[in-house]
Amino acid sequence: MATVEKEQQAVSTNGHYKVIGTRPIRHDGVDKVTGRARYGADTRLTGMLPAAMLRSPHAHANIKSIDTSKAEALPGVRAVVTSADLPDATDRVANLGEGTVNLKHLSDNVLAGDKVLYRGHAIAAVAADNIHIAQEAVKLIQVEYELLPPVLTALEAMKPDAPLLHDDLRTDDLGEIADTPSNVATHIRFEKGDVEAGFAAAEVVVEREFHTATVHQGYIEPHNATALWNADGHITIWMSTQGTCTAPQQTAELLDLPVSRVKVVPMEIGGGFGGKISVYLPPVAAILSKKTGRPVQLVMSRTDVFEATGPTPGSAIRIKMGVDGQGRITAAEAWLAYEAGAYPGSPVGAGAMCVFACYDVPNGKVDGYDIVVNKPRTNAYRAPGATNAAFAVETVVDEICEKLKLDPIEFRINNGAKKGTRRIDGPVYPRIGMEETMAAIRDCEHNRTPLEGKHRGRGVATGFWFNIGLKSTAQATVNPDGTVALIEGSTDIGGTRASIAMQLAETLGIAAEDVVPTVVDTDSIGYTDVTGGSRVTFATGWAAYLAAKDIQGQMIERAAKIWDCDVTAVDYKDGGVVGPDGKRFSFKEIAAEAHKIGEPVIGRGSADPQEPGGAFGTHLVDVEVDMDTGKVTILRYTAAQDVGTAIHPAYVEGQIQGGAVQGIGWALNEEYFYDDQGTMRNSTYLDYRMPTTYDLPMIDTIIVEVPNPGHPYGVRGVGEVPIVPPPAALANAIYQATGVRMHELPMSPPRLLHEILKQRASNGDQ
């Protein structure tokens, strides 16, 4: 990132606002760069005990017995827990903000009951005087297993004779439950128009099958939880989480306690990307604390994170698309099978809704399947489900363009979704910016610069993500010096302290630096949903806007009292109150006056906005392929995205760049390597290949602003959609460079080289 000079930071790039569109230094910046910021594993409490976890070495097995007696007898061991210590979780579903969860599955995932369903599945935990004793004690726990064959891919798990993970799981087709057990948890279907007639009208029909590997979010900071079960029955948990308010909900449900008994103190978070919404450690740490009467800390290792927390699903996808002689899409079909991992709940629903979301498809059909396999339960990862689907459909679109000799950007503009387009899943789009992102890429300097050289290629792809709204709360206290203390419940992952504070500042007409934002614990702020779904700047920003409007109203009342006039004679504008006869107080002046004559001024805002505004992103990439090794080098990369309104452009750019880089890793290198027994063979960052700065050029960004009509400042979510286009854009670039169409992720050197050699062999080359 280029350094932005102080003078530039004060100039709004938007032009409509004074604060929005500027680039102030983030409020938490100093703590972050000086190392003072406190993360979960930094938590130190008097008398705190470390704990270690026993995890399954097998991917699929019945647990015949667990004997913890030797562990408990080890000197220095303070407590041991197994699933027997968890309350019996009935097979009921709990609503936990962003979605629902089957509590039996959640409980079994926290500590396995009578069956382990993936390698790394937690079985027991030990708290001891030090971590070495705890780790030794874990080795003394004796578990008798009855080994079962694992099933590791969606297609294998769908076979009639596949090993079953759950004897009681039957396919649910919108409430119609199948008669026999299966690994297929759910089937969904969308239809629009007459698909057969649509394909009959097509001049070109392309049908292809795609496969994507299991990949991890790759956050730097491992999961952690420090719990204190106090003698008064209240539990406090210090942890790294995207769900400050949903983590206590999940923990309380699992421990069968009222949610008011569980307080979460959200520590700084070292990345999440969707992977830190589910609860793994807090209930276990809490029970160990209850048993010992002392605070207990659990911290995962990197291998634990890979093997036992939710990656994004591997998938198998079939796409069929027909286009007529005028280059119009006539019909499209998709079949998606997503691996849910050990328990149902893959993002196949979102994948099915996103797969053709960028296009105006008159006739379409989409089938989606949620499949359990012997891998860790999948979890959200930036635009969950959308990237898999976009890789498939955008590759088919590119092939169709080649066959019809159509420019792939113009094809997408001509067939692109716009206001009024009805998606295959039904809803009609409001004002969206898909076309604008395509036009921005078409007109950018990168696209207008010819790409020359051998084995070089350029690819383009587009992507969609819904974004979500949900609930948020903000509270702002006006200080006598005219600054405002803002408290909120959204864990700050991507600079949202700043983007929320800026919306409050804009509304009050004060400087962003005059707002001091703090993320607080769950006893100190109203309910706030997860930091996920690209919702925080949208929804918590809206709550801050409402808090500012509340303050405006109170300041008007206070000014009316001082000026001895009716409140209707006072208005709030340009950062202050104005009254009769040209009277005016700036915000700082009225803040000081208000402090003298009445109760403290505290603004409150709570929001549950319903129109998050979908986001589109289009990416353009140039690559060079080493034909002897299959290595792909990215030469140039440009990402355009409709962000609604960029509140803090630097963080918007950072989100786009970060999402693109994660998509590049997913595309070119990242994957879980499993052996036949379901053991991940690359569960460290030495072997799980993520891109580094050495692998990447600068990711150029183009911010497109089509304001969301459903937000006071036009905000759309930003953080997720940039991960969607990269795999397809890269696959299309690789085709241009090599003539090889890649249908499987990752397009790693051995896999690409294999396809290059196959092509040479089929061409009769040596």
């Binding site: 579903v93 609503n95 962003e98 979605g99 629902t100 087709d173 919108l174 409430g175 119609e176 759910t186 089937h187 969904i188 279907r189 969308f190 239809e191 979010q217 999440g272 990307f273 969707g274 992977g275 919404i277 993002p347 196949v348 629903g349 979102a350 099915a352 809704m353 989606g368 959200a380 990862y381 930036r382 635009a383 969950p384 489900g385 899943d425 039904g426 809803p427 009609v428 789009y429 409001p430 993500w465 819904f466 974004n467 979500i468 709204g469 949900l470 609930k471 997860v530 996920g532 779904g533 690209s534 919702r535 549950d608 319903q610 129109e611 459903g710 979510g717 997720e720």
Partner: protein
Amino acid sequence: MPTVFIPPSLRKLTGNQERIEVAALSVRDAIAELEDRYPGVGPRLCADGAIKPGLSVAVDGNISSLGLLQKLKPDSELHFLPAIGGG
């Protein structure tokens, strides 16, 4: 009148109709009318007095957090979609 878009998986209960107009002022009313006219549809969409887990209702293109309580306009469209979460 508001229009309910019937998910493909339910169409065998509605005589294969894809869209059904309902004289309803809320999502709750709409589903009640569907159940009256096409028995069996209601339990496929609702459980325990709420939209079923894993399912959401979109009214005029937006997922409603009010669920059954969501008010409808005369020209509203209702869609029943998989519940989604973000990352």
